[in-house]
């Protein structure tokens, strides 16, 4: 076992994990209708490639990429496209987004798939393209397209870290995956290692998951490139930067990427999805999700098709208890409260947490900040949450940026320890989105200024050209008039001369 390091701050939280690990992963039935959003990932939403009324097969691409940072979406089951419409998304805003609604026919008929040849012979870029076409995104929650992460971009990759820390309370989907399907993760790791040309793969797991560690260890012992590493239980050790710090002692630079240190971090479930995509030619159409909390009757993990309505899953988990009053997608620390359970499961949904009043009794009455500094002590990124809070309240966007707001990982440690119960992370999210909005406005204003300047100068140029034309014409006219006068004068002179000549001739004649 290699030496481990510590990251600053962090919290020891009650896990609440065992309530959802008592039962094995169960396969959720195909729902009556599948609601597949076109934008489930970071980047541009996919573009719909099917029409209303069209029959689709399981695994068929129904949304194509339009941009580099994007991922396609696939039909989770065979059936008919009944509608393409706006539907509330599993997003903090609950705003509608484009969703393809499929009515499954129950046959679950696969699209014809071609086996992929031996990947060890394959060019890494070709492999990345296959992963891209399978619509794979990071399943830890951020949903960043995986093929981009698997591009070493000229860096020498020393370590591929597979993140099985799962540090947030209540969530157990990665734990169950590691316990029940360790070979999928290791097969995926092989493929990802090849794509990155990485020397070593580390699977990092928190110590509170001994079953997961044991099941992976049993397969890893004969592989010299793979290391299973148990790490101390401290929240948020599963954060990308925190995990790198714990494993290697290195800090990822503020505006840098793990790639700058020759490392790539990916979730264990993403590795399993890569295995399905390459070894079985199955695009990302299902995932494992934890349905848990004191507000559901039978908490457990489900393997569920993307697009299944959340309400169906809650039903499968025994339904809500009487006092259930809050539905969160994600964990209690970083999750987002949903207004409705009609929204579907997307690629990024790792957990559905149903809470009851005792769960959020801690969010008592909000009081003013007393500058106690507790938040500073627990911040894993060494920020000054109390200072950022003031700046965010006053909308001092420049100060927020100079105090590195964008390094905040929104882990929620500061909010948990705040004795005044100030919802600090909400302020930071607000500050971040204000800065982002301002940037967008500046870009738009710069474009408008450029175009307005161009128009003004063009109008002026045309005016000047017209004026010059007028002047030139006037000059020409004047010149022509002058010439005419000259000719007239010359004619007059000649005439005068002629008359004079005749007169002289007459005079001479008379003299003679």
């Amino acid at each position: 076992m290699s030496r481990l390091y510590k990251f600053p701050g962090g919290l020891k939280l009650a896990g609440h994990k065992t309530i959802s690990t008592r039962q094995p992963i169960s396969k959720a039935a195909i729902p009556d209708r599948l609601f597949v959003p076109l934008g489930q990932h970071i980047g541009s939403p996919a573009e719909c490639t099917v029409e209303k009324g069209q029959r689709v097969l399981k695994g068929q691409t129904i949304g194509a990429v339009t941009d580099y940072v994007a991922a396609p979406v696939h039909a989770p089951s065979s059936g008919t496209v009944v509608d393409i419409q706006k539907f509330p998304a599993a997003h903090a805003s609950s705003l509608p987004s484009d969703v393809i609604i499929i009515e499954p026919d129950g046959k679950d008929e696969w699209l014809e798939r071609e086996p992929i040849p031996d990947i060890t012979e394959m060019d890494p870029s070709e492999l990345r393209n296959l992963i891209r076409c399978a619509g794979i995104v990071g399943l830890g929650g951020a949903a960043f397209p995986t093929f981009i992460k698997l591009n070493p971009a000229g860096h020498q990759i020393s370590k591929l870290i597979l993140n099985g820390a799962e540090c947030e309370p209540y969530i157990t989907c990665d734990d169950m995956l590691m316990r029940e399907r360790p070979h999928e993760i290791i097969d995926g790791a092989k493929i990802m290692r090849h794509a990155l040309n990485a020397a070593q793969v580390i699977i990092a797991i928190e110590e509170n998951k001994p079953e997961a560690i044991a099941s992976l260890q049993a397969l890893a012992s004969e592989l010299d490139w793979l290391q299973i590493q148990a790490i101390p239980v401290i929240y948020p050790t599963g954060g990308e930067r925190q995990l790198i710090k714990v494993l290697t002692g290195k800090d990822v630079p503020s505006k840098g990427l793990p790639l700058d240190l020759g490392m790539v971090v990916s979730n264990v479930a993403t590795a399993a999805a890569v295995h399905h995509a390459i070894d079985h030619q199955q695009p990302l159409i299902s995932r494992i999700i934890t349905v848990t909390g004191s507000g559901v009757r039978s908490p457990q993990n489900f393997e569920v098709l993307i697009g299944t309505p959340i309400s169906d899953l809650i039903e499968l988990a025994g339904g809500y208890t009487e006092d259930a009053d809050r539905l969160v997608v994600g964990g209690p620390m970083m999750g987002i409260t949903l207004k409705t359970d009609a929204t579907p499961v997307v690629k990024a949904s790792n957990c559905l947490l149903v809470q009851t009043p005792p769960d959020h009794a801690g969010e008592a009455i909000i009081r003013p900040c007393i500058r106690c500094g507790e938040c500073v002590k627990v911040c894993p990124v060494k920020l000054l949450p109390q200072q950022l809070y003031w700046f965010s309240q006053a909308k001092y966007l420049d100060d927020l940026q100079s105090h590195n707001l964008f390094d905040c990982i929104e882990c929620g440690c500061c909010t948990v320890v705040c004795p005044s119960h100030i919802p600090l992370v909400q302020y930071f999210r607000f500050g971040k989105s204000e800065i982002w909005k301002k940037e967008q406005e500046t870009i738009k204003a710069d474009l408008a200024r450029e175009r307005a300047d161009a128009k003004t100068s063009r109008v002026e140029r045309i005016k000047a050209e017209k004026k010059a034309q007028h002047a030139a014409r006037a000059k020409k006219n004047a010149a022509a008039a002058d010439r005419k006068k000259e000719i007239e004068a010359a004619v007059a002179r000649t005439k005068a001369k002629k008359t004079a000549d005749i007169d002289t001739a007459i005079n001479q004649n008379t003299e003679n």
Binding site: G39, H91, I366, H421, Q426, D446
Partner: protein, 182 residues
Amino acid sequence: MVLTILSLGILASLFGLLLGYSSVRFRVEGDPLVDKVDSLLPQTQCGQCTFPGCRPYAEALVKGETEINLCVPGGEDTITALAETLGREAVPLSDEHASHVPSLAVIIEEYCIGCTKCIQACPVDAIVGTAKQMHTVIAEECTGCELCVPPCPVECIDMRPIKPDISSWTWPQPYVAYGAKN
């Protein structure tokens, strides 16, 4: 004595030459303050401030000829920023009833007669088309200034508010009443 006068004199003329050269070499074109003020304005070029665009308003502001509270699309944020930059007191928006809804001009193409009047009115060249041909608005470049609406003889230009979607949504400012429940 003579040496002192001579050396100081030479030094003075050297520095004088250096200053003279720098003033020519590093000359700043235009008034940099105008650029700064202009960068604070939203560049909709709508003319609601009574000036024919954002830059003319910025120029008038720098000369101290006008009030800082005339920009309707910029609203309170712009007034605050202008007050800070120009060292003047922030005042409420001049037209308190004016509200700015970010919107987009849309030409109803079946009614367009191709008169090019809107093209001439658009301050940012965001309308394409030619005489007796249908015109259309380039959505990404439209600032929503509404200047194309009055010249249209057939009233075929609609101002449509931009609906918030997930990609442009921003987190609301947390409203905290001390003593209230979170």
